[in-house]
Each structure stands twice: as C-alpha cells, then as structure tokens.
C-alpha cells in the first residue's frame, strides 16, 4: 500500500474529528475530537517519514515530530480536562452551548 492510502485514512480521521468537535454537545466529545485530529496528523507524519524518498534509515524526523505531538497532546488533555472540571464546577454543565459567558 502506498502513501496515499495512509493519507486517505488520516484525512478521514481528521474529518471525523472535526465533526466531533463541531457537532457533539459535550465538552468531553470536543476533547476526543481533538485527539482524533491530532492522531490524524500523526499518522500523516509517520507515513511521510516512511515513504521518504531515499528511505527512512537515519531519518526519523517525522516520527520524532509525532512523539512531540503526543507529548503535547498529553499535556493538553490534562489541562483541558482540568478546565472541564473547573467549568463544570462553575457552570454546573459541560454543554458548550450553555457556556457563553464570553458573549458580552
């Protein structure tokens, strides 16, 4: 299977993640959507690294980039969930539509 196959999978994952962020009425879903988006990007990175012209020996920049994405995703997830907890304690809800204190 060639590069494009992996990219297609990545694109689909990305779109699903996007829809999840945009459509579900729960902050937790938003977070999960974000994770999907990040993973889609990771898949692309790793795939590009694999199908690098000239082979991947000694050139792991794509993978290392992916590792950094995972690291950041971990940090982000931790903070985001902390925020969700905070929001919950403040607003008694985690439906993004109801949290519009910034509107005015």
């Amino acid at each position: 299977m060639g590069l494009s196959a992996y990219l297609t999978v990545g694109a689909l994952l990305f779109l699903i993640g996007l829809v999840m962020v945009a459509a579900r009425r729960n902050l937790i879903y938003v977070l999960m959507g974000l994770e999907l988006i990040l993973n889609a990007a990771n898949l692309n990175l790793v795939a590009f690294n694999r199908f690098r012209p000239g082979g991947m020996e000694g050139h792991l920049d794509g993978q290392i980039g992916a590792i950094f994405v995972i690291i950041l995703a971990a940090a982000e997830a931790a903070i985001a969930l902390a925020i969700v907890l905070n929001v919950h304690s403040l607003f008694e809800t985690i439906r993004p539509d109801d949290i519009d204190a910034m509107k005015d």
């Binding site: 996007l18 962020v21 945009a22 459509a23 993004p96 949290i99 519009d100 509107k103």
Partner: protein, 716 residues
C-alpha cells in the same frame, strides 16, 4: 556720532583718524570692561537682590542703589573722558579694539543668516552722554525710593525690579545693533510690567487697577515692539546685517544705487521700526498706556518717564534717523508734533498731579520725536537729556508731595505747600521753569533748538505740511508753560484746601537730596556745564551738547539757520510768556475762573478731560474685538473642525450615518464618528461572537476552506 563719519565721507574719515589717535590715548584697553560694568553692575545687583534680598539688612535696598552709584560713577567718568576728546565724530569702536560677541553660534565659520550676527559695544558721544544721564538719574531714583517706598510689602522685589530696569536701559544705550537693542527694549517692557503692577500684588491691599494698567502698558508697547521687529526683519532680509553702522552704510549705498531715490519698502521699514518708538515713547496713537502707568509707585513713574523706557523710544528714533526716508521723516515729525499738542491739551484738564506730569511727558516726547523727524537729531537728544533731569525732578518732587500729603494725589486737595516743603518746592519750581522754556534754564536751550530745527526744515522743504510741526510745537510750548505753572500754583501756592495738605511735612534727606541734584541739573544742564573740565565744550555760542553732537544733515545755510534761530527763539519765548501769564491769571492772581472757562467750552472740555476718549475707543474696538474674536475662535474650535477635518468629518458621517446629528459638534464629529463606526462594526461582528466554541470551530474551518481555495485554485 558715528553716522557723521559716514555722511561726511572721505574728508571726515581723515578727520576721524586724527581724532581716533587721541581717543586711543584717552581710552585704555580696559575701557570695554569698564563700559560693560555699567549695565552689568545693576544686573548683578538684581540677581543678588532676587536671591538674597529679603535676608539682607534693610531688605538689601543698598545693593541696587550702591550698584547704580558705582555704575553712575563709571559712566560719568567715561563721559568726562569723551568730553576731553571733544571730537564730534568720536566713536570708540574706531579708536580701540572692542570685543564682539558672536551670539547665536560660537563657531566663527558659520556666517549664514543670523549665524553671522555679532554684538558689540556702541560708544560714541550720544551714547556716552545718555549713558551717564541714565546711570545718574537711575541712581538718584533708587536713592529716592529708599525713602519713598518704606513700608512697602514687597520692598525687596521693588528694588530688584528697579535694578533690572536700569540694567536694561544702560545695556540698550550701548548696544550697537538692532537685535540687542530689541532684547533690552523688551526686558524694559517686562520691568515696566512688573513695576507698574507692583501694587497689584501688594500683600495688604492689592490694587486691581494697577494690574490692568500694567497689562495695558505691556500690551500697548508690545504692539509697537512687534512693528519694530517686523521692520528689523525687513532690514535684515534686505541688508543681511543688524548693526547700526553697517545698516547706515547699506542704506546709503542702496539709495545711492537707486539714483538717490528711496524705495517705498525702505520707507515702510523705517515707519515700522519707528512704530516701536511710538509704542515705547507713548506717541499718538499708542499713547494710552502712559497715563495709566501712573498706577505704579512714583519712583517707577520717574524711572519710566525720565531715565528709561520712554527715552529708549526717542533714542531709537535718533539711531534710526539715517534709515528713514524723507517721507518717513515727515511721518515721524507729524506724529511727534501732533502728540506734543494733543497731550498738552489733555494736561490742562487733569487734576491728578501725576497724570498732569504724565501728559506733559508725552507732550515733551512729542517734541523730541518731532525734532528728530525734522532732522534735528542733536536737538531731540539734547531735549531728551535735559528733559530727563527736570522730569525726573518733577516726578520725584510730586512723589515727595504725595509722600508729604499722605498719599493724596489730587491737586484740588493740596495748596500752600510752599512753606511746608521748601526744598521740594524749590526744585520743582526750577524744573517747571526749565520745562516751560524760560531762558537760562536747561529746557530753554533744548526746546528752542528743536523749534528752530523744525523751522529750518520747513524753510528748506517749503511745503505746507512740513511747516505744521513748527506751529504745533510753538502752540504746545505755550500750553506746556500754562499747565506746568497751573500745577505749581495749585500745589504750592494759595491756602491748603484740605486736611492732608495742612499736615504736610518735608521729606527726609534721601528724598530731597535727589531732588536738589536733579534741580541743579535742570538749571545747569543747558548752557553751562560745570562738570565739564574743558572749556572747549562749555564755552562758545552753542549749548554744549550741540557742539558735541552734530546733526547728520544741514538743511539750510548758516544765515538761514541764524534766521530760524532768532524766529524760533522769539516765538517760543512769547509762547512761554503767554502760557505763564495765563497760568498766573487763572491760578495765582485768580483774575479768571477756570471753572467758568471749562463750562464755556462744555462738551469740548469734557472730551479733553476724558483724554479724547481714546481709551474707550480702543476698549470698544481693539480690546473688545480681540476678546470677541478669540471667543469666536474658541467656539469655532470647539464646534467646527475647519477645512479638511470638517469635510472629512462630513464625508465620513454621510457614509456611515445617514441620520446626521446636530450641526454642532462637527469638530469632534469626525473623531466621534470613527469611534461610532468602530462600535457599529463591533455590534455587527459581535453577532459572530456567540461564545459558542463549536461555532468558532465552524468559522475556523470555513476560514481554512477559504485559505485552501486561495492556495489551491490560485485565486490570487
């Protein structure tokens, strides 16, 4: 006068070289330092007095007085040296090297425009005489003030301002260029402002009228000053220099290069500069400030009227003479002559002793200005000198009277002071005789010469308008004699008419001594000059000053001059006699009743008594006009942005907001519109700010789509 050397050409140049040799022997290399010390001593006294005056014993009044005494000694000492040279063409700058001050840039390489300007010392016969006079009179006024100002709440500041005043005048006299002249001229304006307004800041009972008077004095003279400045700019632009001697040369060669014709702009420049003198010397139509300046303490009046401020105007006119075209000279002469008689008529009607003297000063200054306009530069300056002595004497005398009468200034309340204040009476009488032009007194010689000069000029010109000054001055001479003797009779003769004059007392020595010294000069200053060590100057037919200073132009030959002199002498003698006679009839012998005469004239009398209502006229036009205009400008600024901003504001409002708000606030309209537009745009954009992050996600995605479209389809 330096100008002479230029006028007389090569012959005079040789003459000056001979004279210069002897002058170089008389004046050593330290002369410049001595001369600079004359103004700088009062300046130093001023600085010390301002900083430490209140901590010194007697509030430091001895400091400026002492400085002025030293300055007077130096100035007189050098004047004596000048007399010993006795050369009418004497100019110190030609005799010895004098330091020059490169004022704006110290780099000698820069000479473009004002960068090339240098200032130096001008010390010739005229400035020597006037410097000595100013220093001496200023010293005497300081001395007088130590008595008169006792008990004033701002005693120390009074003396410091007085010292600064003296400094400015002394420095002005020895300035060799228009710019420095202007600088000291303006500093005098400041001093007059501070001193006339002295009582306005009084700690016990501030006098608001003094505040108005000081502001009026400053603003009125400043109108003249600005004209002087404009004239100065015109000269500088045309000739690239501001030094008097270089300007004389430049003007002369310009006129010569123009075929002897004076360009109209040169006339204009001359008149503009003369307007400066009109302001400072209180000539018509800028005379209104001087009578009000009487709000200041009496020594200040003496200072302004005799030694400093107003003399500066005459001195300026004399220095300008060689830059004045014949037309400008005529204007000068007419202004002076008109002022002389105009002010004299007002003097008849006033009752305030100081106001009478003030109008008399304006009138006498008119004489000087008129003389200079008519070509009698020496005569005008001579009168300036003699007038300084007797007018200072009169003012200080009036101060002494006021002091003796417990600050009563109305002559109707006085009378019979002759016995109670004999020294004051004596000195004032002598000065009155001098100002009236009674023979053998100083004023006679100078006034006589002035009238002769105007007659000479009218003979030479032969036109009707040039004969006006002569008649005006003769008439003014009669009126002068009348109102001055009216003053003497009302004040010192008869019986005391009020409580204050019954209890009058003679003033202490430090007030009477200056009076006596000045009175002595009023007697001796004309023909005899006891202080003159050389008989060459004091002897001879002519008064000493006319032998020392010559007129730049002679308009008639010797016989004509003699004829003019005899005519003028008889006319002025007759005028003076008539004036004194009528004064006696009215006020001494009481054969005529002034009240009935006044009633007979009715409206005219009231018009003159109200000073021809010029104050009211100016108040209604210039002052009120300015106030209305400025209020209007402020209103315009608040409600309209003129020109560009106005239109920009309209356009923007038209675009953004169809419902035009009120026509007011258009100025801020433009600005506020920007604000409103921002708010309106914000209100629109605000709809997108739902606070719902998921919508934001859609927007983000939409943006990404647009961006991708741009990139992929190469929209741009």
């Amino acid at each position: 006068m330096l100008a002479l050397a230029l006028q007389h050409g090569a012959e005079a140049a040789g003459h000056a070289a001979v004279a210069g040799a002897s002058a170089a022997e008389v004046f050593g290399p330290s002369t410049a330092a001595w001369l600079l010390a004359v103004p700088l001593l009062p300046l130093a006294a001023w600085v010390l007095q301002v900083c430490f005056g209140r901590f010194l014993p007697r509030q430091g009044d001895w400091l400026p007085t002492g400085a002025l005494a030293a300055a007077a000694v130096i100035a007189i000492w050098h004047f004596v040296k000048v007399l010993s040279v006795g050369d009418p063409d004497f100019a110190l700058a030609e005799a010895i090297d004098l330091p020059r001050w490169k004022f704006f840039f110290s780099d000698p390489g820069l000479t473009e425009g004002l960068a090339g300007f240098t200032a130096g010392i001008l010390y010739d016969n005229v400035s020597a005489a006037i410097l000595a006079m100013v220093a001496l009179v200023s010293f005497l006024i300081h001395l007088f003030s130590t008595g008169y100002m006792q008990g004033d709440s701002r005693y120390n500041l009074f003396f410091s301002n007085l010292a600064l005043f003296s400094f400015a005048m002394l420095a002005l006299v020895i300035s060799d260029n228009l710019l420095f002249f202007f600088v000291f001229w303006e500093i005098m304006g400041l001093c007059s402002y501070l001193l006339i307004g002295h009582l306005a800041a009084d700690k016990e009972k501030p006098k608001m009228s003094a505040a108005w008077a000081s502001m009026k004095a400053f603003m009125t003279t400043r109108i003249g000053d600005i004209c002087l400045f404009i004239g100065m700019m015109m000269m500088f632009q045309a000739f690239g220099t501001l030094s008097f001697s270089e300007l004389y040369q430049a003007v002369e060669s310009h006129v010569a290069g123009n075929g002897g014709e004076w360009s109209p702009w040169l006339t204009g420049a001359g008149v503009m500069m003369f307007l400066g003198a009109v302001g400072k010397s209180a000539q018509f139509p800028l005379h209104v400030w001087l009578p009000d300046a009487m709000e200041g303490p009496t020594p200040v009046s003496a200072m302004i009227h005799a030694a400093t401020m107003v003399s500066a105007g005459v001195y300026l006119t004399a220095r300008l003479y060689l830059m004045l075209s014949p037309t400008a000279q005529l204007i000068v002469a007419i202004v002076g002559g008109f002022t002389a008689i105009f002010a004299a008529t007002i003097g008849i009607t006033q009752y305030d002793i100081k106001k009478v003297l003030a109008w008399s000063t304006i009138s006498q200054l008119g004489y000087m200005i008129c003389a200079i306009g008519a070509g009698g530069v020496a005569a005008g300056l001579f009168h300036l000198l003699t007038h300084a002595f007797f007018k200072a004497c009169l003012f200080l005398g009036s101060g002494s009277v006021i002091h003796g009468c417990h600050h009563e200034q109305d002559m109707r309340q006085m009378g019979g002071l002759r016995k109670k204040m004999p020294l004051t009476y004596l000195s004032m009488l002598v000065s009155t005789l001098a100002i009236s032009g009674v023979p053998l007194f100083a004023g006679y010689y100078s006034k006589d010469t002035i009238i002769a000069k105007t007659l000479e000029r009218s003979m030479a010109e032969g036109s009707l308008v040039w004969s006006l000054p002569f008649y005006l001055l003769v008439a003014a001479a009669a009126i002068t004699a009348f109102y001055m003797f009216r003053l003497i009779f009302m004040t010192f003769h008869g019986k005391p008419r009020a409580h204050c004059s019954e209890h009058a007392h003679e003033s202490p020595w430090n007030m009477t001594l200056p009076l006596l010294v000045l009175g002595a000069f009023a007697v001796l200053g004309g023909k005899v000059w006891l202080l003159d060590p050389l008989h060459a100057v004091s002897g001879g037919q002519e008064p000493w000053f006319l032998r020392l200073v010559h007129d730049p132009h002679q308009f008639v030959d010797h016989a004509g001059a003699h004829h003019a002199h005899v005519t003028a002498m008889s006319a002025s003698l007759a005028a003076a006699a008539a004036g004194i006679l009528f004064a006696c009839l009215f006020y001494l012998w009481k054969r005529l009743d002034p009240a009935r005469v006044a009633a007979a004239f009715g409206g005219v009398y009231r018009l003159v008594y109200d000073k021809y209502r010029f104050d009211e006229l100016y108040l209604a036009t210039a002052v009120r006009g300015t106030m209305i205009l400025s209020a209007f400008a402020a209103w315009v600024d608040k409600t309209f942005v003129d020109g560009v901003v106005n239109n920009v504001g309209r356009v923007m409002r038209g675009l953004g907001d169809a419902s035009a708000a009120t026509d007011l606030h258009v100025v801020d309209g433009a600005v506020n519109f920007v604000g409103e537009a921002t708010v309106a745009a914000g209100q629109t954009v605000r709809r997108f700010q739902t606070g719902r992050i998921q919508q934001y996600a859609y927007f983000t995605f939409a943006g990404a789509v647009v961006l991708a479209a741009v990139v992929l389809f190469r929209v741009i």
